[in-house]
């Protein structure tokens, strides 16, 4: 028996080492699996968020493209004082409003970096001229109002 014991010890040692190695590998694998699962869950969450945004902002590109002609129409009404064109403008605005577009009121307001962008020539803190209007779509600012402060 005693003769065999060193061999047995050796064998136990090597087995213990093997167990330790396996335990380490197992921990690593478990960690990797958790990480992959977390990545996946994050992906699912982000997907949901992005889909929600996509639904809310489905009209974003169209709205952005319409803002320039809208501005031009407003300028036309200002300069020509034509009643008919003013009616068209009102109708156009009402239609856009019904799709969630909302003008941001900035005239004579103090500068707010969340909704406005200061244009060259600004001196002061109150909006004295609006270069182009700011708009929200379903609550999110899609165009900052470009303003000159005085």
């Amino acid at each position: 028996m005693s003769k065999k014991s060193p061999k047995t010890t050796l064998s136990i040692e090597s087995l213990q080492q093997q167990i330790a190695e396996l335990e380490q590998k197992f921990t690593q694998t478990q960690e990797k699996e958790k990480r992959a699962l977390a990545d996946y869950q994050n992906l699912v969450r982000r997907n949901q968020e992005e889909r929600l945004k996509l639904i809310q902002m489905a009209n974003l590109d169209l709205m952005l493209a319409l803002l320039q002609p809208l501005g031009h129409l407003e300028r036309a009404v200002e300069q020509t004082k034509d009643k008919g064109v003013a009616m068209v403008l009102e109708q156009f605005k009402r239609t856009l409003n019904s799709f969630g577009l909302e003008e941001i009121e900035v005239q004579d307001q103090p500068f707010d970096v969340e909704t406005m962008e200061a244009a060259p020539g600004s001196q002061g803190k109150i909006v004295k001229q609006v270069i182009h209007k700011g708009y929200r779509l379903n609550g999110r600012v899609i165009q900052h109002a470009k303003v000159i402060l005085g």
């Binding site: 990797k32 992959a36 977390a38 990545d39 994050n42 992906l43 969450r45 982000r46 031009h72 300028r75 036309a76 200002e78 300069q79 020509t80 500068f111 970096v113 969340e114 406005m116 962008e117 200061a118 244009a119 060259p120 020539g121 600004s122 001196q123 002061g124 803190k125 001229q129 270069i131 182009h132 900052h144 470009k146 000159i148 402060l149």
Partner: protein
């Protein structure tokens, strides 16, 4: 060592960008403002610090407290020639600080360029954390290839101030080359032409064994896309003045509109040959009449306007080539970086100079950040140690009625995966089905490779289409495919295991794909014919059954006519030279002629006061949810 994701940051002079490795590929992280770029601008308003887009929006009203292009001062002495040159282009104050270093002075307070850059990096970190939903503590940051040790140290410090451990500082051109995977192409010499918003850099790199060596760099620290915009604006102003005699430069409102449309026109001319600049009611004439700005700008005109800038950019390129002791023909790869390189004329000139097509697939505004993320992935083990999820190279499916292949797992599906579908029998009282597992892209079963087949028997005798046989394909991560078929009535199950279902040589896969493409039209026609035949057989079967059950309710004449039609359709479906169109037409006509039979059936049903449960179920057997919809399986003749 901290765990978690490592992000890659392109800390640019004008804009910065962040990217991260996700699922084995780089992804640019959007800012909380929803853009992929962060303007490298920091503004101080009392105690408040604004970074990125908000800082940019208030820049003109707060110019002395808004810091931009601070990268030009990173790790440089105040007396450096470059610093003295840059100071002329900024509105905030630069002074001499400790050890003669350049520092930023805002409202009596002193900031090092590192501290300012740290604000941009902190925003990048916060945006990444909000995107990833976890803490981010480590980053790879890029710097221009010409940055010296002091500038690199300063960049590292900026990361540290922002709460990031900078795992590595990578050269911007190296990151761009990594984004195009040029490190995997063996030894080569690469030219990176980087024309961004405000700076132009050319770098010549040599790569061997995955190690990048910068051979030379050159550039123009004050040339960029903004200069191109200004040329267009000047041109529009001069044309308007020529036509209307009015100088719009003095009207801030008109100027803003021209600036916006000039930038838009420049971008449009990268894809179109000409574009309209239309700004109605831009001003009023001396007589009070409205003036409209309307002009056409062609790509050729734009190219003429900025010709000296483009030609001028090749002066530094030539110098860099000379410093590297290389000729254009010695360059094996050319990479374009920076938004302005979207301009076709620049791409053409670069191609002409180097005599080869430049790489331009990755978004030129994001390519540096993408490369940084790849480097971050290598360090974090995401890239080399990534669990490479395999995909099935070819579609897996089974044979169904008429020798048609029905796909279950489409090719390029990431494995492990599994998919189940319900099938049924094709003949009355069929007691067994054969499952023939197929691999390939062809429409007909016989043209695909059969991986194995087995028989599920013991199905209780029933009308065709009634038994529900659930077939499940399951591929584990080693590509071992388990196919099982289970009769849902008896729960009897048979299965087969196919080793190495994904183990095909690349040549085999390519050949099978090519075959499928070559025969696509042929196969489609064959499949459609089989489907038309299956449909015709179905009609024959259904009508024969109805005739048997309700035929006695019809006039003998009507019954005869229907029987005749059914017989003709049955014969037609057996013919080998029949076309799909003939079959469809005949089936349609047979169904129309059998309307009387349908009426008789309805009457008979109404006559029954209340159908029994079983009968009701029988009537509805063709409906039911899609999920449980039975497809007819391959018939095995007993």
């Amino acid at each position: 060592m901290a765990s978690g994701k490592i992000i890659g940051i392109d800390l640019g002079t004008t804009n910065s960008a962040v990217a991260v490795m996700e699922g084995g590929s780089p992804k640019v992280i959007p800012t909380t403002e929803g853009r992929n770029l962060i303007p490298s601008i920091v503004a101080f308003k009392g105690d408040e610090v604004l970074v990125g887009d908000p800082a940019k929006r208030q820049m003109v009203m707060n110019s002395q407290s808004t810091v931009y292009s601070v990268k030009r001062f990173m790790g440089r002495k105040f007396k450096d020639e470059a610093v003295q040159k840059a100071v002329k282009h900024i509105a905030y104050e630069i002074a001499e600080g400790k050890d003669g270093m350049a520092i930023v002075k805002i409202g009596g307070k002193i900031y090092t360029p590192q501290e300012i850059s740290a604000k941009v990096l902190a925003k990048a970190k916060a945006d990444a954390e909000s995107y990833l939903g976890e803490k981010v503590e480590r980053a790879v940051i890029t710097v221009p290839a010409y940055f010296d040790d002091s500038q690199r140290q300063a960049t590292k410090q900026a990361g540290k101030i922002a709460g990031l451990t900078v795992e590595r500082i990578v050269n911007e051109p190296t990151a761009s080359a990594l984004a195009y995977g040029l490190d995997k192409k063996g030894t080569s010499t690469i030219a990176v032409y980087d024309l961004g918003g405000g700076t132009f850099d050319i770098s010549i790199l040599e790569i061997g064994d995955g190690v990048f060596e910068v051979k030379s760099t050159n550039g123009d620290t004050f040339l960029g896309g903004d200069d191109f915009d200004n040329r267009v604006i000047d041109y529009v102003l001069s044309e308007f003045k020529k036509e209307h005699g009015k100088d719009l430069a003095k009207d801030p409102q008109a100027m803003q509109r021209i600036k916006d449309s000039a930038e838009k026109a420049k971008i449009e001319l990268s894809s179109a040959q000409q574009t309209e600049i239309n700004q109605p009611f831009i001003a009023q004439g001396d007589d009070g009449q409205p003036l409209h700005l309307t002009m056409t700008l062609t790509r050729a005109k734009l190219e003429e306007l900025v010709d000296d800038y483009i030609k001028g950019s090749f002066e530094p390129v030539r110098k860099a080539m000379k410093d590297a002791k290389l000729e254009p023909k010695d360059i094996q790869e050319v990479v374009l970086v920076g938004g302005q390189t979207r301009m076709p004329k620049i791409q053409a000139e670069v191609k002409k100079f180097f005599g080869r097509e430049p790489h331009k697939g990755v978004n030129p505004d994001e390519v540096v950040a993408v490369g940084a993320a790849i480097q971050a992935g290598v360090i974090g083990g995401d890239v080399s140690d990534v669990v490479l999820l395999d995909v099935t190279p070819l579609t897996l499916g089974l044979e169904t009625l008429g020798g048609v292949r029905t796909p279950l797992i489409e090719r390029n599906t990431t494995i492990p995966t599994s998919k189940s579908q319900i099938f049924s029998t094709a003949a009355d009282n069929q007691t067994q089905v054969e499952i023939n597992v197929l691999q390939g892209e062809r429409e007909m079963a016989a043209d695909n490779r059969s991986l194995g087949r087995f028989i599920l028997d013991g199905i209780p005798p029933a009308m065709r289409g009634t038994p529900q046989i659930e077939v499940t394909f399951d591929i584990d991560s080693n590509g071992i495919l388990n196919v099982s078929a289970k009769d849902k009535t008896t729960n009897k199950e048979q299965k087969i295991t196919i080793q190495n279902s994904t183990n095909l040589s690349d040549e085999e896969i390519e050949k099978m794909k090519a075959d499928a493409e070559k025969h696509a039209e042929d196969d489609k026609q064959k499949k459609e014919l089989v489907e038309a035949k299956n449909h015709a057989h179905g009609v024959v079967f259904e009508l024969e059954k109805q005739l048997k059950d309700y035929g006695d309710k019809l006039d003998e004449k009507d019954k005869k006519a229907i029987e005749e039609n059914v017989k003709k359709l049955k014969e037609l479906a057996e013919k080998s030279d029949v076309t799909k169109e003939e079959l469809e037409k005949a089936a349609e006509e047979t169904l129309t002629s059998a309307q009387k039979l349908g009426e008789a059936m309805q009457k008979a049903n109404q006559a029954k006061a209340e159908p029994t449960k079983d009968e009701a179920k029988d009537d509805k057997k063709s409906s039911g949810s899609d999920k449980d919809k039975a497809e007819e399986g391959e018939v095995v003749n007993e």
